[in-house]
C-alpha cells in the first residue's frame, strides 16, 4: 500500500504554533498542492501562510522536496512519492527604506 504512505513535512519554527510545536508532520498526498491541502485540513490556519488565493506559493515562502526548491521545477504541482520529504521555509528577508 505504498500509495497511501505518508509524506513527511518539515515545519519551520514560526509555523509550529499551528502544529502543537511539532517540527515534523506526516500527511498523505501525491503532489505538493495535495500535501499543503492535507496540512491545512489537519492544522487549520497554516495554509493561508503558505499560499495566496490562487493557490500559488507566497513570494516569501519556499518549499523544498528532498532538498530541491520546487520553484526551480513544477511549483505546487511537483509530484511526490512515498517517503519524500517536504520542507517549508519562510524567507528571512528585508531591505533598506527607499
Amino acid at each position: 500500500m505504498q500509495n497511501d504512505t505518508g509524506i513527511t513535512v518539515l515545519i519551520p519554527t514560526p509555523l509550529r504554533r499551528f502544529t502543537d510545536g511539532n517540527a515534523k508532520v506526516t500527511v498523505v498526498g501525491s503532489s505538493v498542492a495535495e500535501v499543503l491541502n492535507a496540512l491545512e485540513s489537519t492544522h487549520p490556519g497554516i495554509g493561508e501562510r503558505l499560499r495566496d488565493d490562487s493557490g500559488q506559493l507566497r513570494r516569501f515562502v519556499n518549499v523544498f522536496v528532498n532538498g530541491q526548491n520546487v520553484r526551480d521545477g513544477d511549483g505546487v504541482d511537483t509530484r511526490l512519492s512515498a517517503g519524500d520529504e517536504v520542507g517549508i521555509i519562510p524567507a528571512m528577508a528585508g531591505g533598506t527604506s527607499v
Partner: protein, 144 residues
C-alpha cells in the same frame, strides 16, 4: 542621530558577545555596498554560534538569506547542534540601524531578535537589536 526608541527604553536584553559583534561588522564591511546577512544560533535565547549566510537578493538595497542554506540550517545543522535561531542579522550599508518598512513587512520569524548593523558612519559602525512582531518594533538592549 538615532531613529526610533532609545535602548534605555528597552524592556528586553540580548547578549551579543564582543567577538560576534566584531564578526557582524566585519561581514558588513566585506559585503558593502551590498547588505550582508546571517543568523545566530543558540539555546534559550543565548547566542552560541554565528553563521554567515549568502544574500541572494538582487541589488544593494535588499537581503534575502539563501533559502537552500536556511532550510539546511533550520532542519539539519541546528537540530544536530541542539540549537535554534535566536537572532537574525543584516546590514544597512548607508542607512541607520533601525528596521525599514520592508524589514517590518517581511519579518516572518517573530521569535528571533533582529540585529541591524549600520555602516552609515564608516568610522563608527553601529549594531542595534529589535523585536518585530505583528508590525510593531520594540528595541532590544544589547549587552556584552
Amino acid at each position: 542621530m538615532k531613529t526610533g526608541g532609545s535602548p534605555e527604553a528597552a524592556t528586553e536584553h540580548f547578549r551579543l558577545p564582543t567577538e560576534m559583534r566584531a564578526a557582524i561588522i566585519a561581514h558588513a564591511v566585506r559585503e558593502a555596498p551590498r547588505e550582508c546577512c546571517g543568523i545566530i544560533a543558540g539555546r534559550h535565547g543565548l547566542p552560541m554560534r554565528l553563521y554567515e549566510t549568502r544574500n541572494v537578493a538582487v541589488g544593494n538595497r535588499f537581503y534575502e538569506i539563501d533559502p537552500a542554506q536556511l532550510i539546511d540550517l533550520e532542519f539539519r545543522e541546528l537540530p544536530e547542534q541542539e540549537t535554534e535561531i535566536v537572532a537574525i542579522y543584516h546590514s544597512h550599508p548607508e542607512s541607520p540601524a533601525y528596521p525599514s518598512a520592508t524589514d517590518v513587512e517581511l519579518a516572518f520569524w517573530p521569535d528571533a531578535v533582529f540585529l541591524i548593523c549600520s555602516l552609515a558612519d564608516r568610522d563608527r559602525p553601529e549594531i542595534r537589536g529589535f523585536r518585530i512582531r505583528d508590525g510593531a518594533i520594540d528595541e532590544v538592549a544589547l549587552a556584552l
